[in-house]
Symmetry: C2
Subunit: 307 residues, 2 copies
């Protein structure tokens, strides 16, 4: 399996002609998640061909407009598209009231049910889990209550080493489940074939961490340790660290420090302040600390195939 | 003076890559109004270079998402832009609660004051007036409480006929205000110079009517009689008059009939349903009844100079 992140919007504050507020689409182990939903997200979803009907779970980091003003429009569109499947929304306490008030006032009665999962804890918690992935919160520090989200593939079963298995006529299909589960096989001769000989290591379970908006918060490092792909906000460059601190945002240098300390494989920065005309400076600044840094750009894909 | 309408968005229902929900920017007699504010309106305002700070009055027709989901984002942007001037918002009862809840939840405290004018009457009423223009409601018939808006320039003062005035040495600057006010002038000889000789007729006071969303409602004709520019929704073509009736929308043919009956000078149709790929059919259908029909297209201007 693979992990595939598509940037839908990656600018801060206000929508402009070519600047879309935060939204990302994540495919991970055959699950499809939308993360944040600034104004214009549904337009960006259409532009980058994100299947509306694939998404059953939407994660909102915090209730600043540039991260959720596109949500009610998307829910409304699901109604117009005659969606029937349940839709799950995760976000700060209050998200249910503000969303339902808007939907109810328009008297648009959708066929589908929206299930709100309101968050208020300041500790990391598991908020979604199935047989393929798990999602946990990453408590962040911004001007309002904010969570990042850690998406992890479930550990995968061992793979059968067919080359070695074929050396033993006696081992057949009936044994495969036991082998995948890690068991040794005892032949009729009494000889024990160790599981390691019959299996290959499973593909690595991948992970993605979304951290926005937040000031530099080193205590998230243990939560996102060894993550394969880290999106961390970088609203400012280091020259405005004072402003970053005041507005509870991070600099690109600080994002890179988090990536380095967490031993992330790759860093993506975004949420650029409109004051910077040349966003390549964000990459340059981060790369002095963490070389494998990329810039978020609308439509850009970050795809990781498991080893 | 002149009237200048800019279409910002003109499609129905859901935003798509090249389809923006309803919003229009009207300059009339040096006043600047925003009419409806679907998702993405502020992006369109930037694209078509509408000065954010010029707008002090926003008119919302009804509380369906494609006509107001962009409002809260715009208000939020005004806060970020440090607006200090009062902003007036006119719309159906309920608009205040739904807007303030969203703004308050983000804990963004703007410096400017928003004044809500909530509407609930089913009769046409004057809702704004100054020395330049007046705005009245046009009660419409849609699935939820809806108003169109009639924007009218104030009658203008007579213009001085300088050519004729110069025939009378005795008439000077001190008389101009009286002449403009329609008074005759008595010379020292006792001769009375009639006002008509000293003045030219004033430029015509222009008017614009915005009618969306609504089913065919002929009783609006007296309200918009002789309007210079009429925007009337045309969600469907006549082949789907049944669907128009069911969803309380109009066909292009019906929009043209209203324009004809109201003796409008020009008709603009818009709010096209996404089912129609070729919007030129809306113009063709309307022109069979009302020839001077144009299509709403994002960025298109309709400018009328007074005769």
């Amino acid at each position: 399996m693979s992990l595939n992140l598509t940037i839908l919007g990656c600018h801060s504050a206000t929508p402009r002609v070519n600047a879309y507020p935060t939204s990302q689409y994540l495919e991970i182990n055959n699950r499809h998640f939308l993360i944040d939903c600034g104004e214009g997200t549904q337009r960006q979803m259409r532009k980058y061909k994100v299947g509306f009907s694939k998404i059953d779970h939407i994660f909102i980091s915090h209730l600043h407009g540039d991260h959720f003003y596109g949500l009610v429009g998307l829910l409304s569109t699901y109604g117009i598209l005659s969606r029937e499947k349940e839709l799950h929304i995760y976000g700060p306490k209050g998200i249910k009231e503000v969303t339902l008030l808007q939907l109810n006032i328009s008297q648009s009665h959708a066929k589908y049910k929206t299930v709100f999962h309101e968050l208020s804890s300041n500790k990391s918690e598991l908020i979604f889990e199935d047989d393929k992935v798990s999602v946990s919160t990453i408590p962040l520090n911004h001007r309002v209550y904010t969570n990042g989200y850690l998406f992890k593939e479930k550990e995968k079963p061992k793979k059968l080493h067919m080359g070695n298995i074929s050396n033993y006529e006696e081992i057949g299909r009936a044994d495969y489940l036991n082998i995948k589960a890690g068991k040794d096989i005892t032949l009729s001769t009494g000889e024990i074939i160790p599981n390691d000989e019959l299996t290959l290591p499973p593909k690595k379970a991948l992970s993605f961490a979304f951290c926005s908006d937040t000031m530099y918060k080193p205590d998230i490092v243990p939560i996102i340790k060894d993550v394969d792909l880290l999106y961390h906000e970088a609203t400012f460059l280091a020259d405005r660290e004072d402003l970053a601190k005041k507005t509870k945002h991070a600099t690109s240098k600080q994002a890179a420090q988090i990536a380095k300390d967490a031993n992330a494989k790759q860093l993506v920065v975004g949420h650029y302040s409109g004051r910077y005309k040349d966003i390549s400076l964000f990459q340059k600044e981060a790369q002095e600390i963490f070389n494998n840094t990329e810039l978020a750009v609308p439509g850009k894909n970050f795809k990781i195939d498991a080893e």
